[in-house]
């Protein structure tokens, strides 16, 4: 009996912790899923820039800075891990808002357990919605931990200050 109970318990834990389910396949699904997700965070703030200007900054920096592949290698006396990850940014600018989506696809070293979108799972989504001629509301859907340099760079893009690319190796 205990051989049945253990897998059942594991399954229950997985289901209740939200580990069994459907991975967001679109930016909209990601927006809906993230606020209640483990290690997910929705950060909201306002900036003194127009959403259109923010969109231009996304268009200038995202393809150059975020359309990249990153290889990381970690080695100890007992383990060796080599991971290759490709990041894909998407920028959408229209009258209602400017959006930046960032997807992450592990090409080596990590197995995708769930069905991912073609460009990989959604890592971050940023929406800049107009609040006035020179004011916008930023909604930043992102992981609550890690990726500090990436988060800082994208926040700088929304604020229009200290513009540049994040060093993804940090």
């Amino acid at each position: 009996m205990k051989y049945v109970a253990i897998p059942l318990l594991l399954l229950t834990v997985l289901v209740t912790t939200g580990c069994v389910g459907k991975m967001p396949q679109t930016a909209d699904e990601f927006r809906q899923a993230l606020p209640g997700a483990f290690m997910g965070k929705l950060e909201t703030y306002e900036v003194d820039r127009s959403a259109a200007e923010i969109g231009k900054t996304f268009q200038k920096y995202a393809p150059k800075c975020l359309d990249v592949s990153l290889a990381t290698t970690s080695q100890t006396s007992t383990s060796y891990q080599h991971i290759v990850t490709h990041y894909t940014p998407t920028v959408i600018v229209n009258q209602s808002r400017s959006e930046l989506h960032l997807q992450e696809k592990h090409q080596q070293g990590v197995v995708a357990v769930y069905k991912e979108p073609a460009a990989g799972h959604y890592l971050m989504v940023v929406d800049a919605t107009p609040l006035g001629p020179n004011k916008a509301k930023i909604e930043f859907y992102r992981p609550s931990m890690g990726f500090e340099t990436l988060v800082t760079a994208i926040k700088n893009w929304t604020r229009g200050e200290n513009l540049g690319c994040p060093d993804l190796t940090k």
Binding site: E148, T152, A153, N162, L163, G164, C165, D167, T169, K170
Partner: protein, 159 residues
């Protein structure tokens, strides 16, 4: 050549190859009239992490094929170099970080194409501060001209 001299010659050659890292990089022959000023600012944001900057210099032909001309370590805040006064250039800035204690290393790059014109000078402002890096390229006509930021330009080789 005696056996001992032969051994010494090969040992020296091996040492040179090893010391150069077999990377294929070589110093840029900075012999042309100086028309490009590179201003570099690096700050890792941590006393445990160091940042080194380097620029790899290429010329670009009409078909957008690159020819590697050499590299310059950006050890000083301001470095003057000469690139062909009329043509296309491709600069690849590489920022390398290394962390003591954790023995972690990383390298990230920022590349830019630009077209040079006779009588113009160019300024590249390269920065790596707290993990955020950028290169801004500007041009100026003559000595008294106004600086103008150059737009990004990409050149895809025609194969």
């Amino acid at each position: 050549m005696s056996f001992n001299r032969c051994v010494r010659f090969f040992a020296l050659a091996l040492l040179l190859v090893t010391a150069s890292g077999c990377s294929g990089l070589h110093p840029y022959r900075n012999t042309l009239d100086k028309n490009l000023t590179i201003r570099t600012k690096t700050d890792s944001g941590s006393i445990l992490t160091s940042v080194k900057a380097r620029v790899d210099i290429y010329t670009v032909d009409e078909s957008c094929n690159l020819s590697y001309r050499g590299s310059i370590d950006l050890k000083r805040p301001v470095i003057e170099i000469g690139v062909p006064a009329s043509g296309r250039c491709y600069l690849n800035f590489v920022f390398s970080t290394s962390t003591f204690l954790a023995s972690a290393q990383g390298a990230t790059g920022f590349d830019t194409y630009f077209k040079t014109r006779p009588g113009y000078t160019y300024i590249a402002e390269a920065s790596y501060v707290d993990g955020i890096y950028n290169v801004i390229l500007k041009e100026k006509k003559g000595d008294g001209g106004q600086l103008r930021e150059l737009d990004d330009w990409a050149c895809t080789p025609k194969s």
